[in-house]
Each structure stands twice: as structure tokens, then as C-alpha cells.
């Protein structure tokens, strides 16, 4: 299990007994003596390497271990410790991430600069690598802290549980697509154009009401049996209604959908649906 030596919020990293916090737990035993005692079991080293989120994190850790304020870094002491750490890791032939080596070079440069006379430091204030390093450390520390804060915030799955009741039996709601009249017209236009039948199938008002009447007559005949010819005509529909019914009936006869039956001469005329013999 990985532990976070720099985050006291992590219960696994809490000091066991007295002394500095352990760097890592190996087989349940705290490892606190790195890198002062330079012997590190190879397993521990892998854990140690994983415990840090990069060179800035390692530096922050070393600074804290020395009880230093970031602003008061003792560059020499920190550089020495950092180099020791790097040396150990390298000697174990662990592949060191480039970032760690770059940091080592930076630290070495800062250390050498600090040995120079003060005058020269002031001239180079613009790109003082020490100020830059401190700025980066501070910036990183802010977000490291922010990450810890976020981890402490109440969150779903751990502290927040969304309430969820069982579903009742839901009624079967069928929802249908909406259709606009214009869509039907457009569809009809395309299909007729495609069939190149537009001119010969000119649809007129009269024709449509006739076709509607044809449908309704067929529905009445669906149960089988006969209906009286006269019953097709309703006086309150007026003359036009009578004409439409008559045309519909003729069309049905022409299309061989119904037949007219007259049992006796001058007797009542009946309609019935044609059935194949």
C-alpha cells in the first residue's frame, strides 16, 4: 500500500509511536529512515519513488522534514539530501524520470550561484533561479493543498447518497411522432412525381369526397349481408350528398368491390360486398 508521507490527513501515514512520520509502510512496518541511512531495500525504493508526485513534491517533503519554511530554504542542506536520494535511486538502477534529474541540475546551479559574490546575484535578479524555484514550490504547494481540500469535501459515494425510491408500475404511455399536413402533401407530391403520374391522377375535391364515401360504404358492408340501396342516401345531406353517394356506389361497382342485387323486377335494390367465388 502506498502512503503519502507529506499528507498528515492520510491515516496510514500517521506516525506510529514517536518520531518522524514514516516514508512508507513495507509489509506493515513503517520506513522512516530514508535517506539518512542509505541502505534501502529495493522494494522500499519503488514504494518511495511512487510516494511522491514529482520533484517539487519531493522537495516540499524534504523542506518540511527539515522544519523549514519554503521562504527560508537552506539550499545547501536540501540539495545535499535531494542528491543523496537521487544517487540511491540511480544506484539501484531505477529508471529515473527526467524531471528529477532536471531538478537536480537546477539545485546544483542554485547552490553554485549562492557561492558567488552578492553583487553578481543582484545583477542577475531577473532570472534568479532561486526565486524561480521558490515561486514554483509555492505554486505547487497551493494546489497540493487544494487537492487535499477537495479530497476532504463531502462527495457522492462516500458522504452523499442520492435518495432513490422504487418505481411504481408505470402506465404504458405511447407517444407518437407529430406530423404536419405539409409533410403529407410533400410526400404525396414526391411519390406522384416519381411515378410520373401527376397529370393523370389529378385529385379533385369531388373525387375525394367520393372516395371517402366509398370507404364508408365498404365499412357498412364489412359485416357481410346486404344494405338497401335507398339507405345510402340521406335527405339531410342535400342534393350534393346524394350525388356523392351515387358516384361512390358506381365507382365501387366499377372497381368490382360491391355488387348490386335486385331479386325481383322493380323490387328493392340491395348492395353487398363482392366475394370471390
Amino acid at each position: 500500500m502506498l502512503t503519502d508521507p507529506a499528507a498528515p490527513a492520510n491515516p496510514a501515514a500517521k506516525p506510529q509511536g514517536v518520531g518522524p512520520p514514516p516514508l512508507a509502510l513495507i509489509a506493515g512496518k513503517p520506513l522512516a529512515q530514508l535517506p539518512l541511512d542509505l541502505y534501502i531495500p529495493p522494494d522500499a525504493l519503488a514504494v518511495f519513488l511512487d510516494a511522491f508526485e514529482g520533484p517539487l513534491d519531493l522537495l516540499l517533503y524534504l523542506i518540511r522534514r527539515q522544519n523549514m519554511n519554503i521562504l527560508e530554504i537552506d539550499v545547501s542542506a536540501i540539495t545535499r539530501q535531494y542528491m543523496e536520494y537521487i544517487a540511491v535511486v540511480e544506484s539501484m538502477r531505477f529508471e529515473l524520470a527526467g524531471e528529477y534529474l532536471v531538478m537536480a541540475a537546477t539545485l546544483a546551479e542554485i547552490k553554485s550561484r549562492m557561492l558567488l559574490p552578492r553583487q553578481q546575484i543582484e545583477e542577475d535578479e531577473e532570472d534568479d533561479p532561486r526565486a524561480e524555484l521558490i515561486r514554483r514550490l509555492q505554486q505547487y504547494e497551493r494546489f497540493k493543498k487544494a487537492a487535499e481540500d477537495i479530497d476532504q469535501m463531502p462527495r457522492q459515494e462516500r458522504d452523499i447518497f442520492v435518495a432513490d425510491a422504487c418505481m411504481p408500475k408505470l402506465p404504458l404511455v405511447r407517444s407518437y411522432p407529430e406530423v404536419a399536413m405539409a409533410e403529407i402533401l410533400r410526400a404525396l407530391e414526391t411519390v406522384l412525381k416519381r411515378a410520373d403520374m401527376f397529370s393523370s391522377h389529378h385529385v379533385e375535391r369531388e373525387k375525394l369526397s367520393t372516395r371517402e364515401r366509398m370507404s364508408s360504404i365498404l365499412i357498412r358492408l364489412q359485416q357481410g349481408g346486404f344494405i338497401r340501396f335507398e339507405s345510402l342516401f340521406l335527405p339531410d345531406e342535400g342534393r350534393l350528398g346524394v350525388v356523392v353517394s351515387f358516384l361512390a356506389m358506381l365507382e365501387l361497382v366499377k372497381e368490382q368491390l360491391v355488387e348490386l342485387v335486385q331479386a325481383d323486377p322493380l323490387g328493392p335494390i340491395h348492395l353487398r360486398a363482392r366475394v370471390a367465388v
Binding site: 411522432p177 399536413m181 414526391t190 375535391r205 371517402e212
Partner: protein, 195 residues
């Protein structure tokens, strides 16, 4: 565990039932309590009765099912819940609209006749959809080999488009803008006293 003995057991049971995602038995409910504060079987049952009373008039109710107790939405509230999960239906295909248009203007018409005009087969699905929606019905069979069904539009079809009769379907004329015709019909319908 920061358990607080002052918290009402009814509230704890409510919270637990509303997150369990499955019915819980009295025994399972007892087990969410620390051993030192675990209520008796009877106490849990009493809390359940109390919870049931607390739910009266609310959107949820306590239900006992085979595998325990659960809180579920009252069935009388189901229509609103159903609304939440209603999916927007997909649009109808061009093929369906063409079929519907042909049935509208050329009824009674058989599937074969529709296919003749459209030049492609009409899937059974389309016919079924139109019949299910109650826009189209079978009005008889043509007395030719196979006795194919003849389709016509229904009252519901007219109602949907706010028409009193098929005459009110706009006459087809290529020279006119179809959208304009659509608008015209809608205006006409609004003016008629029937609607």
C-alpha cells in the same frame, strides 16, 4: 463511525431504504446499526409503522414485498413519473408519409396499388404502424386473387389534422407552395366554428 444515538431510528430507516436499491428485511435494517446501539426486531417494526404513517399524503409509500420492505412511489403519482421517462418519438420515415398520403388521397387502396405507384415495396411495419395509430383501417378486400385488404383513413386521422371530412384535404397542385397550403388549411380550420 460517528453514530449519534439522538438521531431518530425512523429517519435512519428511511434514509437506508431510500438508498438500498432493493427491499430490506427487518434483520438487514437492524444490521446497519452498530452493535452497541442496535434496535430490537420489535423496535424496527415499530419504526416501520411510524414511517408508513409519515408517508401518508406524500409521494412515496412503504411497501412490504416478498424480500422485505421498500419505499416506492405511490401508483397514483405514476403518470408524472412516466412523463419524466417519456422519450421523444422518432420522426416518421418518408416511406410511411408517402403511404399515408396515398391512402388519404386514393382510398380505398390496397398495398399492391400503393406499391405500384411508389415503385417500391411497402413494408408491413409501415402498415402496422398506421393501423396501430388508428389513422388507417382495413375497409374490405378486393376480390382479386389473394383478396388483398383495402385501406382507408379513419375519423381519428381527420381529427388529428383537424379536418371535418376528406374534402378538406388540400387539392394537389404543383404550382403552389406546399407550406402555404398547410398554413391556409390551418387558418381555415381555426375559423370554422366546429373547432
Amino acid at each position: 463511525m460517528m453514530s449519534d444515538a439522538a438521531l431518530p431510528i425512523t429517519g435512519i430507516i428511511e434514509a437506508v431504504l431510500l438508498t438500498a436499491g432493493k427491499p430490506l428485511t427487518v434483520q438487514q435494517l437492524r444490521e446497519v446499526f452498530d452493535e452497541t446501539e442496535r434496535p430490537t426486531h420489535k423496535a424496527v417494526e415499530q419504526a416501520l409503522v411510524e414511517l408508513e404513517q409519515l408517508c401518508s399524503g406524500r409521494g412515496i409509500e412503504l411497501k412490504k414485498v416478498a424480500s422485505g420492505y421498500r419505499l416506492q412511489v405511490r401508483e397514483s403519482f405514476a403518470p408524472w413519473v412516466a412523463r419524466l421517462f417519456e422519450e421523444k418519438p422518432p420522426r416518421y420515415s418518408r416511406a410511411l408519409l408517402e403511404t399515408l398520403a396515398l391512402i388519404g388521397y386514393r382510398q380505398p387502396i390496397t398495398r399492391g396499388e400503393i406499391e405500384d405507384i411508389r415503385g417500391v415495396a411497402v413494408s408491413s411495419n409501415i402498415i402496422r404502424t398506421l393501423v396501430e395509430r388508428e389513422w388507417v383501417r382495413i375497409v374490405g378486400h378486393r376480390e382479386v386473387p389473394g383478396r388483398p385488404a383495402m385501406y382507408a383513413t379513419t375519423r381519428q386521422f381527420l381529427d388529428y389534422f383537424n379536418l371535418i371530412s376528406l374534402d378538406q384535404l388540400p387539392p394537389l397542385s404543383v404550382s403552389r407552395d406546399l407550406d402555404a397550403i398547410g398554413r391556409e388549411i390551418e387558418q381555415k380550420i381555426e375559423q370554422t366554428p366546429f373547432h
